[in-house]
């Protein structure tokens, strides 16, 4: 299976996710919600698995490949949130965001060769990136909810969901970062090197910590908290791909693999 087959899987998965999101708004249609969303996830994962086999390495190296996981984890995070807290609109959010990233991959896939340099051939590689992608998905959903509240007005119940998403997202971010540190010790001899991406990851981690402590210090300052969340997500985007365009990161980051 190659990127040429992606469009068929992508369209089927997105349609299934849309159906799941639609049924979430209907009363007593929970079975359909789960069936369609999980069906979409299975279709999408089948493609990832096929690509994995075709490439003879985990598809986690290029930007296009990480976006693939991101599109997969968004509805997964959505359905877990739905199962746990029953927010009916969360699946609409997650499906829309997954659609955006699927479309980017369809129009600008950034396909690269099969090679995987020795430093990346590690059992830490897959968990490090997958955990981070899941974290990005959760925090992306939290940011969308915050932006939605800034437009429509804040509600305590909805803010509780945002906090839950941030707590779960931050725990995954911590795990992803520390897996990276443990891997770096095995691959490069030191667990932390203040590489530009690592520095930005630390700054982003501190920003999300600022958010959760701010929520505890000033629980009623909803608007400021929502803006803080949006700012933190911008920092996360910098860390994920923005750093590749930063002049100071060129050539001295161990995290820029897809630069030609």
């Amino acid at each position: 299976m190659t990127w040429d087959h992606f469009i068929y899987f992508a369209i089927s998965a997105v349609l299934l996710w849309a159906a799941g999101a639609f049924f979430a708004f209907k009363e007593k249609k929970e079975k359909q919600v789960y069936a369609f969303t999980i069906g979409g996830l299975l279709v999408f994962f089948a493609f990832i698995l096929g690509l994995w086999i075709h490439l003879e390495r985990p598809p986690l190296r290029t930007m296009g490949e990480t976006r693939l996981w991101y599109s997969f984890f968004l509805p997964l995070a959505g359905i877990i949130t739905y199962a746990r807290w029953r927010y009916k609109w969360i699946l609409t959010f997650s499906s829309l965001l997954a659609l955006v990233f699927t479309c980017i991959n369809l129009f600008k896939p950034e396909i690269h060769d099969k090679t995987l340099m020795p430093a990346l051939q590690s059992p830490w590689f897959a968990p490090h990136v997958i955990v981070y992608m899941f974290c990005y998905a959760l925090l992306g959903a939290a940011t969308l909810v915050a932006a939605f509240m800034l437009v429509k007005g804040t509600k305590e119940r909805v803010f509780a969901l945002t906090d839950n998403l941030v707590y779960v997202g931050l725990s995954f971010m911590t795990i992803g970062m520390l897996f990276g540190a443990l891997w770096a010790k095995e691959a490069w001899g030191h667990y932390w090197a203040w590489d530009p991406k690592e520095t930005w990851a630390a700054a982003t981690w501190f920003l999300y910590l600022t958010y959760i402590h701010f929520r505890l210090a000033r629980p009623l300052r909803h608007k400021f908290a929502a803006w803080l969340l949006i700012l933190s997500f911008c920092s996360l985007q910098m860390c994920w791909w923005g750093i590749n365009y930063l002049p100071s990161a060129q050539g001295r980051s161990v995290h820029t693999y897809n630069a030609k």
Partner: protein
Amino acid sequence: MWRKPWTMKEGFAIGLAFCVVGLLLQWGIGPIAWSLVAWPVNIILLSVYLTFIILTYALRKKVELLRWCMSYQAAVPALALASVLAVALGVMTDLSLLSHWTFVLIFAWVTTILGWISIKRIVHFRSWKRDIPFLLNHLGLFIALVTGTLGNADMQRLHMTAFRGQLEWRGIDENRQFHELPFSIRLNHFILEEYPPQPIGVDEKTGKMRYERVPKRFASDVTLFTSDGVQKDDTVDVNHPLAVEGWKIYQLGYDEMRGKESEYSILELVRDPWLPFVYTGIYMLITGAVWMFLTAGRKKKEERL
């Protein structure tokens, strides 16, 4: 501002004062030379630092400032400034963050707050459900940051060029100084596996196809001779370092011009005696993060009850 009780505003003012002091120190005495805190200075510093945290904690009932330091009001500005400074100094400039006084002062402020609130939780331990995750996250980060920073000066990183068939027991540090090791290494065989060559275009001069050769694996077959007379054959692979007598041996490079025919292999040797303490902190943080993921959303309900 400055009317009691203090809020976050005072926190930002204190943080900015730290920044100004940091800039003056940077300008006055230059970057922090961490090599000066090498053993046994770091263990003395650590004892003094821990004593300072415990003594100030004991004074908290008399000094309102210390009680404020242990509140969310102090945590938020400290974390926000740490984030801003990490980006401003770390990404925008070429300086190493930990050699910059401004960052280190804010970093020390965050760490000290972590120390105080960790003691507070231990002293006022009520329920494991509430306090164990809190301590895993906060005390774990405290341990990792403090031991990682103070232990950095004791870390040795040497490069060794091992020629095939020759015994080597010296490593070279970043200042081009030789160091003798307690063991020796003999390179028996250098291994290089490559991906199938990828065509990358036509050479304009010769008109022939040019191919890109990407290494798939490179490794060294070595024999180790330890100080107690033991002889051991092993392989050093990228991502699979060898551990011997407190040192770790990493595969770093080779003669890239000659590829498979490389006569030597470049190894990196690392000794980090503080690593077990840093790892204790890291594993506490990982456990705390897993715990946070499993219990997110339940905390609020309990608080309401």
